[in-house]
Symmetry: C2
Subunit: 395 residues, 2 copies
Amino acid sequence: MIHMNRHYSDLKESYLFFRIAEKIREYQRMHPGKSLLRMGIGDVSLPLCPAVITALHEAVAMQGEKKTFHGYVSETGDPLLRAAIARHYQKRGVDIREEEVFVSSGASDELGDLLDLFDAASPAMIIEPAYPAYVDASVIAGREILFVSAKEENHFLPLPDETSDPGIIYLCSPNNPTGAAMDRITLQRWVDYANGKDAVILYDAAYVAFINDPSIPHSIFELPGARTCAIEICSLSKTAGFTGTRCGYTIIPKELEKEGMNLSKMWTRNRTTKTNGVSFVIQRGALAVFTEEGQKEIQETLSVYRANGRVFTEALDALGVYYTGGKNAPYIWVKCPEGKGSWEVFDELLEEAQIVCTPGQGFGESGEGYIRFSMFADPDDTIEAARRLKALWKK
Amino acid sequence: MIHMNRHYSDLKESYLFFRIAEKIREYQRMHPGKSLLRMGIGDVSLPLCPAVITALHEAVAMQGEKKTFHGYVSETGDPLLRAAIARHYQKRGVDIREEEVFVSSGASDELGDLLDLFDAASPAMIIEPAYPAYVDASVIAGREILFVSAKEENHFLPLPDETSDPGIIYLCSPNNPTGAAMDRITLQRWVDYANGKDAVILYDAAYVAFINDPSIPHSIFELPGARTCAIEICSLSKTAGFTGTRCGYTIIPKELEKEGMNLSKMWTRNRTTKTNGVSFVIQRGALAVFTEEGQKEIQETLSVYRANGRVFTEALDALGVYYTGGKNAPYIWVKCPEGKGSWEVFDELLEEAQIVCTPGQGFGESGEGYIRFSMFADPDDTIEAARRLKALWKK
C-alpha cells in the first residue's frame, strides 16, 4: 500500500497571484476601455539579446545535421559553459573553478532539488517576507521553519539570532520581494554565523545583475569563510531575460563538507541519478551570455530596467514615502501610506490609477503593510505609473 | 546544525559506464589504429527531424523580438503542447485530457522528482535488471526496495507476487535493458495487482515508439483500471531524438487518489513550487513532433533504428543465441555464450571483434550472464557488428 507525502496537506493554498488575476479580470469586466499599467510582475519584458539569439540558432542548426548533432549532455553541465561561468567569477577576483559550477534549469528548479541533500530533520531559517517557494519546499519536506522577520527597524536586512540553531539558511540578496541588498559587513555576519552553527547557506543570487553599489558583494564567495558554509544559486532569468528560456547555475565549493559528506560529490551523484542535464541548445544560448558581446548586450537591456528603477524611486523620493530596493535590485518595496493594508492599497491603485502592484502580504505576514513594484515593466508604462502614483499619493 | 541526507552513503558507486569508458581507453591506447563499433550506447545517433528544427528556429526568432518574446511559461506545460499530446492519445483511442498531461524535461528528471509525492516509508518494487536510476533514487530516499527478478524462465516479464506489499511499482515496457515488452494480459495482471494492493505504478514508457506488435499496449491507460493506479512517464528522447534536447511528458489521471490525496493536484503544486517549467523554445520543438509532418519524419528516423534491430536479431537468430528485445524495443538483451560472465564477454567482443556492448551485470545482479546491444548505432556499424558477431560466435 502506498503512503503519500502528507506534508502536501500542510501547504497553504497559494492565493496571491490567483487573487491578483481575479481582481484584474473583474476590474477589466467593469471598465472595458481602461488599460492597465502592470507594475506587479516579476517577469522580464525585453527579448533575448542578439548574441544569445545567434547562438541558439547555431545550436538548433547543429541539432539538424548528423555530423554536428548532440545527444546526451553532461548532467552537471556543458564543460564549455561551466568553464565560461568559472572565468566570469575569476574576472571579478573570485576563485571559482569549472568543476564547482553546476549548470541548472534555473534557480527555482535548483532551490527545490537541492533540498534532497539534507535530512528533513534540519530546520530551515527563512527571512520573511520571502519568495514563497522557500516556505513551500520546506513544508513539503516536513521541515521545521525558523522565521526571521525583515522590517523597517532592521532596514529589511535582519542579522542572525545567535540563540537559534538552523540547518539550512535561505538568504536572497538583492532580495525578492524587498529589494534590500546585503553589504559586506551584514553578509559576513551571516557567513560567520553559519560557520559557527555548522549550517548551510542557500544563497539565492538571482538578482546580482542589478547591483550598482560597489559595497555590495556580487557573490557570497567574495567573503572569507563562505566556501565552508555556502551554496550559491544563480539564474539567467533576470540577468539575461531567460525567464521562459530556462538556464541557471549553482556554485558548490569543492571543500564544502558536513557530517563528513562532501556536498559537491553528493550533488554530482544527485544530478547523474535524477536528471539528464539541461538542453544542449539552451546551454549554447547561455554560453553566449558570457561572451564579451553578450555581456555588453545584456547591460544595454539591464540599463532599461535600471532606468525604470530610477524613474520610480525618484517619484517615491519626491513623495517622501519609505521604501527599500530599486537601486541595487529590480524590486521596490514600498510602505503603504497611512498604515493601510497591502490589499487595500492594491485595490486603490487599481481603481484610481489603473496600476497593478503586488501586495506584500502575499510574501508572508511580515509583508503586510507593504506593496512591491517591479522594474521589469515597459518603460513608458513605468513613467506613466510613476506620474499617476505621484498625483494620487500627493493628495 | 545541518544534518545531511545520509542515504547518499548507501549508494553503490556507479562503476558501469566509467568502467566501460576506461576499458575502451585502454584498448585504444594499446591498438591505436583500430576503430570501434559502439553498440553499447543508449544514445541516438540521428539528428532532429526537419519539422522540429524549423519549429525550434521559429521559437528562437520569437525570443529575439519584443512583440513575440515569451517570458515565464506555465509550470505544468505550454497549453498548446499539452493539448497536442492529449490528442495524440485520443487518436489511438485512449481518453487522456489536456489537463492530465504534464510537460517535463524528460523521463529521467521526472522519475526522480515524482518520488517527492510519496512517503519514504512506502517500499518500491523494482524489476531487476533495471535502469540504475530506479534503484538509486529509491536508495537516496531511504526507501525499502522489493526486487523482482526478470529471467529467462519468465521471459524477462515477471508477474506480480501476491504475497508482497509494495507502495510504488516501477514498470518499464518496452524494457531497458532487456527489450522485453509486456503484452496486454501481462500488463493487466500488474494493473489489477496495483489496484488490489493500493499501490502506484510508475510506468516508464520511454520506448513505446519502437512497438510494432499490435498485441503490445502503447500506453498503460489502454487497460481497464489503470486510471486508479498508474502514472505514465514518457520521453521524446528515443521517440524523436531529444536525448540532448530534453523534453518529455507525464500522464496523471484526474481521478488518481491515494489516502484521500489527489496526485494530479499534488503534482501541480509540486511543479509550481519547485520549477518554472520547461523552456519555451524546447516546448515549441516538441510541439512539432506531434504534427502530421513531424510524426511522418520521426517514423523515417525510427525506421533506421528498426532496420538496425532486424539486422542484429537476424544475426542472433542465425546463431541460435537466446535473446529478448530488438523487435518492439531498441535494445537487444543477449545471453552470454557458454555460461560466461557479462564482463568476460564484453572483453572478448572488444578484443576480438572491436564491438562495444553493455555488460548486463551493470543493471543489477540479475543481469549477470547477459549483454545489451543498442539499435541506436550507425547502420553501417550495425551491419558490420552483426557480421563480426556471427563470425566470432560461430566458431
